[in-house]
């Protein structure tokens, strides 16, 4: 029996059935996989935080290598001594602080509601690290990351990631050679919390000068680089009161 596929009723019925089938399929898939996906995202966050404080499996000057997903939960417990949540002047300890959604907190702040700021205190080889999460805008979409400083406000490590920067250009902010440049830079300049800028003309491509609050930019990724600078600056200004108490101790 041939169906008359040109009839309006058929077209509408087809569209309706198609939407129901596709909707059901995707909804089923999303709910079936959501537990596994959020577990993956949780482990990734732990990996990123640990990466910033130098707990990773990097070798030589090669590529970024996180601590394995099988070991990360244990390492997170070992190295992260405390997870703090700053809310106004209040500082509370919270074991799930790393799960705080920065984007949500940002829109809370915009809506005039209280903003929670997570910060992680790590310890490795008798040295304390303060790891601050960051979030900002690149060229195409969100960029985010973590910066780990010691109590002298010297950067001990960073981690950057992005949602959709251009491969080969802006996407290189998550490459080792870019992130490693930040290590040893100070976020202070004459006592001011200025952060670190990604600079194009700093005449220091090998990044030997560690007191200039600048790292060498990526060619062809000016806007992403500016986004990174702005992100660091903004995050540091948010955490300034907290960082000041650490620095004065």
């Amino acid at each position: 029996m041939a169906i008359n596929t040109d009839k309006n009723t058929y077209t509408i019925a087809f569209a309706a059935v198609m939407v129901v089938i596709v909707g059901a399929l995707l909804a089923f898939l999303a709910s079936a996989l959501s537990a596994k996906i959020s577990e993956n995202e949780r482990l990734e966050k732990q990996q990123n935080i640990l990466y910033a404080m130098g707990v990773n499996e990097n070798e030589g000057s090669g590529s970024v290598s996180f601590i394995g997903t099988d070991k990360v939960a244990e390492a997170f417990n070992t190295y992260i001594k405390d997870q703090l949540v700053l809310e106004g002047d209040k500082v509370t300890s919270n074991d799930a602080a790393y799960l705080i959604d920065l984007k949500k907190e940002e829109s809370n702040a915009k809506a005039g509601k209280a903003r929670r700021l997570p910060v992680f205190v790590g310890e490795k080889d008798n040295k304390e690290f303060y790891i601050i999460p960051m979030r900002g805008k690149g060229l195409w979409d969100a960029i985010w990351g973590f910066v780990a400083v010691d109590k002298n406000m010297i950067v001990q490590g960073v981690y950057f990631d992005h949602k959709g920067e251009t491969p080969g250009l802006g996407a290189n902010i998550k490459q080792r050679y870019f992130m490693d440049d930040f290590i040893g830079e100070s976020i202070l300049n004459n006592g001011n919390y200025v952060g670190i800028s990604v600079a194009k003309g700093n005449n220091d491509p090998a990044n030997e000068l560690k007191t200039d609050n600048e790292v060498d930019a990526l060619a062809g990724a000016t806007i992403t680089g500016d986004g990174v600078s702005a992100m660091i600056k903004q995050s540091i200004s948010l955490y300034k009161p907290f960082l000041q108490t650490i620095a004065s101790n």
Binding site: Y10, F14, M18, V22, L25, L33, P167, G168
Partner: protein, 215 residues
Amino acid sequence: MGILSKKDAALILDPLADNNPITIQVLGICSALAITAELEASIVMAVSVLFVMGMGNVVISLMRNIIPSKIRIIVQLVVVATLVIVVDQVLKAFAYELSKTLSVFVGLIITNCIIMGRFEVFALANGPKRSFLDGIGNAAGYGFILVVIGFFRELLGSGTLLGIKVLGDPIEKTGLYAFGYENNGFMLLSPMALIVVGIIIWVQRSRNPALIEEN
């Protein structure tokens, strides 16, 4: 070819050369420009399109007799979008690292005009087996050009291949760089991809003059 008849084999082989979707039909250029700055990204994109196109062509072909012609384009879009989301979700659950590399391409796969073009021209008029072969063939033709462009852009633009420094270290001046060689930053920008595509088209047509259209 054994299993495949001559006609079926042509479905796979034609798009690789004389009927290549990028160099002959000049389709799918947008993604060819956007993601070929690195060889790895080109390969990931090629594999993703191979999967989506093979599957999509089969699905459309199976439904070809019941799709209302008035909304066929919408149906095609829904099929591509669904497949891409399914792939993305499954990868996120079981191959999280890979899915992060791929996430940039999801949007680009959906808008790839080669996919829609093959649905419209081929899958709506042919059986599932032939459609599958056609999808695989065209995706392979597309992927092949992508990899070639990615190879040259990464090699000449960054001096690396798959992230490995094959020409030496530009900062420490080793390998080729010791002789004053410099990376060509232009190669990383999209316009150079277009020029590389142009060169491939030129080479291909001068080797086979039958491909040149008459005015």
